[in-house]
Symmetry: C2
Subunit: 248 residues, 2 copies
């Protein structure tokens, strides 16, 4: 144990100096790997409010890395769910992916794993920066940096082993899916308002029935949902109505 | 040459038989690689109108592979543009990516490289299937199949070397971006008609401004366009107006 610690300390003291060492240690803690190209990770932490113009007149911030990381994260989670649910439809996979990867979850996760403490931004502009996007964007930029630094396989392992598996209960996310109807009914009861679910259309195609459900709040139409069963269409309509009413 | 041909023929006759051979040859022609798991590629060619239910009661079609391929394609093109344009903003990269990867371009490309001849779909339902999405979706499913069969690196090389570089003139896509406004103004001058560009909306979100531009032809509204700068929104609106007026 002491040997390992000594080796570890020697390594980081040899490789990085000063401020870089702090970043390298943090990246190691978060991703499980030591940075190869430390500059990538430093850039990933730099919010556009701290950007300097480079020789080409381009503002250097984490926005490009965020664009890349977002695409890599999307692909990795797509594959992860594809393999985890071999018998589920692409509609299901798309839905679950969007429940895992969205602004809110990424922001929460980013703060939870300590990315928040590393972000460099201009505190004087804080009022105009949504902290939600600040942290989530930085996590995506960090994913972009690991991808460029260590390649797809490594980056995939980081995303799955360090981000998805420990921080998302996929089974719960899937089953939560079925609770929107109860959620909105509960909300209506508390608010003492009348809510109603109607099946407004049934379309038959290729021996499949496609149901359209509509939620009404005191006869005012809210969300419309679709599904291959009444239950699914109602859940979909309930989900959309929850969004419309900002119930979460 | 004859030796290579013989080796080639022996290989495919040994590996694949009957209908599989036809699929294997087509996949080789399109992707440059021989299928490892031929079933993946056969599934990629199967439109949902031809789906059979498997033992788990799931319809087996290319829709799941399309979901996966779409994510992989997005990530590969994101990285390609990231590296190709090291000094461009993420707004530019996002814009150019959406010009390369969209339903129309994927559909056109799919037919051009011969994926169209391989698609299996129920011809009796053709009226209800948009051919546009049929071909593009199958190409995305094929990308999903190569990714599962041969991994990310191989799939990336296929996408870049066989799809992007030979079929997209990126420089032209980038510069085309800037020419629609001049084009429509020139057309209006020749036709002696009055044309006007207005910025009708500016939405601010995540430190980015999203502009909405509207083209008016003698006060009659034409195309509406969006972009992260006034110039881009106007170009987008101009492009859509050119389409509406059949100017090319």
């Amino acid at each position: 144990m002491t040997g390992t610690l000594k080796k570890w300390l020697t390594k980081i003291f040899k490789l990085y100096s000063g401020k870089d060492r702090k970043v390298a240690e943090a990246v190691h803690m978060i991703t499980g790997g030591w940075p190869g190209n430390i500059q990538l990770y430093k850039l990933a932490m730099k919010h556009s409010s701290m950007a300097n113009e480079n020789a080409q007149g381009v503002k250097e911030s984490n926005e490009r890395l965020e664009y890349l990381g977002d695409a890599i994260l999307g692909a990795v989670v797509a594959e992860y769910l594809f393999c985890k649910f071999p018998y589920k439809s692409e509609g299901f996979l798309t839905e679950i992916r969007s429940r895992i990867v969205n602004r809110e979850t990424m922001n929460r996760l980013s703060k939870k794993i300590g990315v928040g403490t590393l972000v460099e931004y201009d505190h004087s502009t804080r009022g105009s920066i949504s902290p939600k996007s600040l942290y989530g964007d930085t996590l995506e930029a960090l994913i972009g940096a690991t991808f460029l630094d260590k390649g797809f396989k490594w980056s995939r392992a980081f995303i799955i082993k360090k981000l998805i598996i420990p921080h998302f209960d996929i089974e719960e996310i899937v089953s939560n899916n079925l609770n929107y109807k109860s959620k909105i009914i509960e909300w209506a009861q508390k608010a003492n308002r009348e809510i109603r679910f109607d099946i407004v259309d049934i379309e038959e195609k290729n021996h499949l029935k496609k149901f359209t459900a509509q939620v009404f709040l005191e006869d005012k139409p809210l969300g419309v949902g679709y599904g291959l069963s009444k239950k699914k269409a109602e859940q979909d309509a309930a989900l959309k109505s929850c969004d419309l009413l900002s119930i979460d």
